[in-house]
């Protein structure tokens, strides 16, 4: 049996479609050059030095007790944060799906789930310090504790848990909604108590999903750079150690080797999550809920749960609100009245705020449509077309999800500072705004691609086939059918990419040169110096920008979204 002719014909058809062909070639080149190559060069650099192939660099870094301790610290924090976030996320998700609660509480939940999305990554660290630090509002002024040390292990754990549990909550909410209520009703009917139902039916069904949520948070925690940087104090994690190895010790080979170690850890976790747990979750929870769930109305259950979650939600919201308020006090921890705008004006008068916002804004604004379009094209190719390199494109764009920003940053330094493979080719790219834009694109591509793929899977394949069959070429099919059908998803991808770019720090902080001022880098600097008020002022303006972008998108979708006409009928 020879598949030769069919494959050859498929190839020929592809060649007869130059737009498609060019797109694929350009995509492969982009993914190889900006995702695979920087990671590959890390491995090459740390294994292949001036005296040929050796594992000396690895021996050296594992000889450093600071590095060994950082590995231990990172794993410990990741583990604890993973467990805590999953548990809190489960509590919130369970209450939302199973318990009858007031609308206000539902609103609180929604706010909590959205805040981490629109906020820069280190906002919670800032407010943690401002509320519970040595001169914290709560510790010092309310409780009179003068030497509360929030910096270090617990600081990171609390801040990361508060940052990441909403992700678990959203994931688990989706899973709980997919559990068919009649299964639980059957258990109740056979005499099980509510608690028994939870432990014997709901929980076992949810178990792979919980493992999934745990690992996702674990990876996020390990990859997190901003929070350990600000609130970690002397408690170093891998991400901060790598950063210091480059900026402090100027040891680029060492940093490259450390980045390889960090990458291996996240990749291993990611592999387990992606290929084992995700599949298992899908296998146990395939059933759609056949009808609505009878919500728990028993007051002895609903009141304590609602109060607990509301308090938690209010606490989280308070943490976020603390930042804009902090920027209004004359001197944090010392004088609280009269409220003042002086920090905001200083942002622009003394600290070149305008340039920082302009640079961040412009670079993100350029990066986001590229990201959105690129991720939609990748999703389209992956879901709707068949060709040889499809597996490669899908794998690499999903792989990028598991790459911590710090690792990518080091990879770019090693890979582009002296040109490709240190030959000088393309070295002019390094230090430009273009490379920052590329980093923004690469960092947001996996999320965009993932949501693009799930949006496109909803669309019947034959709709595009029918356009193709009517005589439209690939470009026409994409622009006249695919894109209009996923307009909403495209728009939200656009905004997500914008928000992610303008709040990004981990990779960017390693690559930014003095010719560009970026807000996140500025905030980080001020927070390091202890200038919290000015950091808060910067962060507040940033939050306003990102929140504004999200609002604008929602308005746009509401009035111009694809689904409007269809929704009117339903």
């Amino acid at each position: 049996m020879a598949k030769g002719q069919g494959a050859a014909l498929d190839r020929k058809k592809l060649m007869g479609d130059p737009i498609m062909m060019t797109t694929i070639v350009v995509l492969i080149a982009f993914l190889t050059l900006f995702i695979l190559y920087p990671l590959a060069i890390l491995l090459v650099d740390s294994l292949y030095g001036t005296n040929g192939f050796s594992i000396d660099t690895f021996k050296r870094i594992f000889g450093m007790w600071t590095f060994r301790r950082a590995i231990g610290n990172t794993l410990k924090v990741g583990f604890v944060v993973g467990i805590l976030s999953t548990l809190i996320g489960l509590l919130f998700a369970y209450v939302e799906v199973y318990v009858r609660m007031r609308k206000v509480v539902g609103g609180l939940f929604k706010v909590v789930s959205m805040l981490p999305v629109v906020s820069p990554p280190f906002v919670l660290s800032l407010s943690m310090i401002m509320l519970f630090g040595r001169s914290g509002l709560i510790t010092r002024f309310l409780l009179g504790i003068y030497d509360n040390d929030i910096y270090g292990y617990w600081g990171i754990v609390i801040v990361q848990t508060l940052t990441f549990f909403p992700v678990c909550y959203m994931m688990l909410k989706g899973l709980l909604k997919n559990i068919d209520p009649s299964m639980e009703e059957a258990a109740r009917d056979m005499g099980a108590s509510r608690w028994k139902v939870f432990t014997t039916v709901t929980f076992p069904l949810l178990l792979p999903g919980l493992g999934n949520a745990f690992l996702v948070t674990f990876i996020e925690s390990i990859a997190d750079f901003a929070n350990p940087m600000i609130i970690g104090g002397s408690y170093d994690t891998l991400a901060t150690t790598i950063y210091l190895q480059i900026t402090g010790a100027m040891d680029k080979e060492g940093a490259a080797a450390m980045a390889v170690v960090l990458l291996c850890i996240t990749l291993a976790m990611f592999a387990v999550q992606k290929y084992y747990l995700e599949r298992k979750t899908a296998a146990t929870l395939t059933g759609k809920a056949s009808r609505g769930r009878m919500l728990i109305e028993d007051k002895s259950v609903t009141i304590p749960l609602t109060i607990l979650c509301s308090l938690g939600a209010i606490f989280v919201i308070m943490m976020y609100i603390c930042v804009p308020i902090g920027a209004l006090f004359p001197t944090w921890g010392y004088r609280f009245t009269p409220l003042t705008f002086k920090w905001f004006s200083q942002v622009f008068t003394r600290y070149r705020g305008l340039q920082a916002f302009r640079d961040s804004f412009v670079l993100s604004l350029i990066a986001s449509p590229i990201t959105a379009l690129l991720s939609m094209i990748i999703s389209y190719l992956v879901v709707k077309r068949k060709f040889k390199a499809k597996g490669f494109i899908e794998a690499v764009s999903i792989l990028a999800m598991a790459v911590p920003g710090t690792v990518l940053g080091v990879g770019y330094i090693r890979g582009f500072a002296n040109g490709i493979f240190h030959t000088g080719i393309l070295s002019s790219l390094y230090g430009t705004g273009l490379i920052l834009i590329i980093v923004f694109v690469v960092r947001s591509l996996p999320t965009g691609t993932r949501s693009g793929i799930s949006a496109l899977r909803q669309i019947d394949k034959s709709i595009e086939e029918s356009a193709y069959d009517m005589g439209a070429d690939s470009l026409k099919v994409f622009t006249s059918v695919t894109l209009p059908l996923i307009k909403d998803s495209f728009l939200s991808g656009l905004v997500t990419a914008f928000v992610r770019s303008i709040t990004a720090i981990s990779a960017i902080i390693l690559l930014v040169t003095p010719s560009y001022l970026l807000i996140t880098v500025q905030i980080n600097e001020f927070a390091e110096k202890g200038a919290f008020s000015i950091a808060c002022a910067f962060a507040t303006i940033l939050i306003i920008i990102t929140y504004g972008a999200v609002l604008l998108m929602n308005l746009f979708i509401k009035f111009f979204g694809t689904s409007r006409k269809q929704k009117e009928v339903d």
């Binding site: 598949k3 494959a7 014909l9 086939e465 356009a467 193709y468 005589g471 059908l485």
Partner: protein
């Protein structure tokens, strides 16, 4: 008028085409379509019929260009088209899910193909209006597709494919999402329009009654190969295998031995008695024989060829349904218009008989 076609319908020739797939579980390659060779005359209505997994849809998708044949060549209007992408082929397909563009209204859906062909605006308007009149959707131009019923959506899909005047029109189980009554109505409609326009149509279905009611030619497929090809009547009355006979409607199989031949009528010796069958096949006495008889060709009465015992008797409205035991074999009978006939009850003894011309020797 829409019934004056500008373009001539085209013939389709499949020159021994095959498609190989890989089983995703075992990794083994197998023929999804194997050595399918046939010729379809311009203007004819051909149905690819068969159970799911028989390769009929794959064959259709190879003609449309979505799949590439691993062996053989496809000709459209005499031209080889293997290397052409779907958008370069003179085909238009009506999809099982209709595949209407949800972001366009009815008019824009139908006009899509014409706009791609850069047809002038006023001609587009005229042609779309004509074709919508033909499918009886006049006045619906500005409706969005989700405001239409299933049957109306089906008509839009048909109009969208017809309006570009394709050399060949492809149907991929277009009626399977409709309810039974509408299905019957729509298939008549499709046949009417196809004959009016004189267009070549290739139609895929797994519903044998649908296939029989609309086709000039039926190609019955099984396991990737053609099991039998012929007019509906040939396939119904002269199936070449047990599979074909069984697939194309209810039937009874009776096994016995050839006992003799008298002109065109061959006598078969069944365990329960002797019956005659009309056949051209060369046979010799003593050979194993299997005959096929359709349930409606059998008469149940107090006297006849073969004795039987009634095991099921069920009034179905237009007919009485019997299952009777003849020797070891279960025989199904549909006795039409039972109102003035004797009804046999379960446990009754009776006789069955059938005309030699209604039986077919396999």
């Amino acid at each position: 008028m829409a019934d004056k076609r500008v373009k001539e319908p085209k013939g389709v020739k499949l020159d021994h085409i095959s498609k190989i797939y890989k089983d995703p579980k075992t990794g083994k390659e197998f023929y999804a379509v194997h050595d399918v060779a046939l010729e379809m005359k311009p203007g004819s209505f051909i149905t690819l019929l068969g159970p799911s997994g028989c390769g009929k849809t794959t064959t259709l998708r190879m003609i449309a260009g979505f799949e590439s044949p691993d062996e053989g060549e496809i000709y459209l209007g005499g031209e080889p088209i293997n290397a052409l992408t779907p958008n370069k082929r003179d085909t238009a397909m009506v999809f099982q899910s209709y595949a209407l563009f949800p972001h366009y209204n009815v008019f824009d859906n139908v006009a899509y193909g014409l706009r791609l062909r850069k047809v002038p605006k006023d001609e587009i308007k005229r042609r779309v209006t004509d074709i919508l009149a033909l499918v009886e959707l006049s006045g619906m131009e500005s409706r969005m597709t989700n405001q239409l019923s299933g049957g109306q959506q089906q008509r839009v899909a048909l109009a969208r494919a017809l309006v570009v005047e394709p050399g060949v029109l492809l149907f991929d189980e277009p009626l399977s999402n409709l309810d039974a009554k509408l299905r019957v109505q729509m298939r008549t409609e499709i046949r009417r329009i196809q004959q009016k326009l004189g267009i070549t149509a290739i139609y895929v279905t797994h519903d044998q009654s649908e296939a029989m009611s609309i086709s000039d030619q039926i190609i019955l497929m099984k396991g990737g190969v053609i099991a039998q090809m012929g007019t509906p009547m040939e396939i119904y009355y002269h199936p070449n295998s047990e599979f074909v006979a069984d697939f194309i409607g209810e039937c009874n199989f009776l096994k016995g031995k050839i006992s003799g031949k008298d002109g065109k009528i061959t006598t078969i010796d069944l365990p329960a008695g002797k019956v005659g069958v009309t056949t051209d096949k060369a046979t010799k006495p003593g050979d194993d024989a299997e005959i096929v008889v359709r349930p409606e060709a059998i008469v149940i009465a107090d006297q006849g060829q073969l004795p039987c015992k009634v095991e099921l008797s069920c009034f179905m409205g237009s007919y009485q349904n019997y299952h009777v035991r003849v020797g070891d074999t279960l025989v199904k009978i549909t006795d039409n218009c039972p109102v003035n006939k004797k009804i046999y009850n379960v446990g009754d003894s009776a006789y069955i008989s059938f005309d030699a011309s209604c039986a077919h020797l396999l």
